[in-house]
Amino acid sequence: MNKLMTAADMVAELEDGMTVGIGGWGPRRKPMALVREILRSDLKDLTIVAYGGADVGMLCAANKVKKVVFAFVSLDFIPLEPYFRIARQSGAIEVMEIDEGMMLLGLRAAAWGLPFIPTEVGLGTDIVTKNPDIQVIDSPYDDKEWVAMPALPLDVALIHADRADARGVCQIAGPDHYMDDWFARAATKTFVSCDELVETGYFHDPAQARLVHWERSATTGVIPIAGGAHPTSCAPLYGFDVPHFKAYAASAREEGGIQGYFEQYLGASEEDYQQKVGGLDAIRAIELPTY
């Protein structure tokens, strides 16, 4: 089966109002080229589920978002995502604010076909008082109450991987695959951009196969885009682009706002974008962060 496609093909599979899960974590290994293709489209009213960073901020700023399911939205070294902040403070978006681990449970429930997974996480906090869609239930086995974390089924998951083959075997070679395996399994369709397209034989080496974290049946489409995570990181290939994020954050305080940022960088295509940010070699030269 050949799952190769383009970012434009991916956008053609999306519809207004869909629930879109986005892999990665804050400023790390986000499928930004796919996000940019959504920014260039006329899609709207999306529900975004993410361990959020600039992916969430940009989509909110571009009025693509109806609702965000989140535990945080942050650029790490810039703790508060500027455009998510504006969207929240202007009341422009609905939210489902949950704990980081609850999101994992919601994705697992969706992947496993369960309506919910019981947990004590959220009890005693405003997670259970501010979210009408999250119920607290009695247990058939003890006298305690438990949070019934609802499944978070995704119409679509978007993920960026280091490598993939045309059959949908995806490798994350960086130190952490975050919850991307669960995003892939929780989604009806999963589109994966990758820095490098490889032959299937690449994975014959067990050390390489060990870095494949979900089944290829969970991958719908493979979209080779070298540098496609920029300005987020794709360890070990490149770090996140600190000056770029600073310029992005600064744009929220400037007159042109996100329009100014888009005019300067977004471009009509990914080739256009990469040219505007200095080219693939410059992306690949960005130093990895030290934690």
């Binding site: 942050s74 980081e100 005693g124 906090t125 405003d126 003890d142 305690k144 030290t290």
Partner: protein, 266 residues
Amino acid sequence: MTAATDYTLAELCIVAASQAFAGDGEVLATGIGVIPRLAASLAMKTSNPDLMMTDSEAFMLSEPNPLGKRPADFVQANESWMGFSRIFDNVWSGRRHAMLGPTQIDRYGQSNTSALGGTYEQPKVMMLGARGFPGNSISHANSFFVPAHNTRVFMEGECDFVSSIGYNPQRLPKGHSLDDVDIRLIVTDLCVMDFGGPEHQIRLVSLHPGIDVEQVQENTAYPVYIDGEVPTTAAPTPEQLQIIAALDPHNLRAAQIKDNPAGDRS
């Protein structure tokens, strides 16, 4: 051991906060931010070598990493993979102690990292979000570090958004006891506190040198329980200062408390 005479308030706080982990045994110590991370690292190097620690990314370490940029030939002491999804397996097992710095801490020890003011639909100030606070607070021990002790942090009433469970009987989940909540130490630029007062009231544990009870109470919007004579927070030893300096070669600790004051303000 003799106490040092020349130390900063940040170093005093690191040493005081490291005490939170001393009796923990074999748990994952997570210190978020420079002072909590140095506190956990100091504990692992001194009072509790059984602590577990990550590289703040995806590996468990048998030796804490120094903070900031490390030499090109530095090899960190990995002992296992520990990606974010696996962190939750540890969190929910209870074998963890986190030290964090929320924006608000109310009289019940409930904390807020999410949003301030306005309505929930349209907050005046959006912050980080609840992050892992709900799960941390009901699963394992938690301590707080507050670099500026004032009534905006230790505020009147209840947190604008309750991100973590505390000792609030009104919010106690069915089948649970307030003793299930385990808030250990609160280390601030003025003092060390805990929730060991009557009915889990916040209690003064020690005052930093040169700080008095009135200053703590004035900067806390709810009553602080005072149990007799309050001791002075122990000064760091030269050995502790040496370990801290080695863990923080770029002196990031100097930028954590406004104006980097001396530890003894008397």
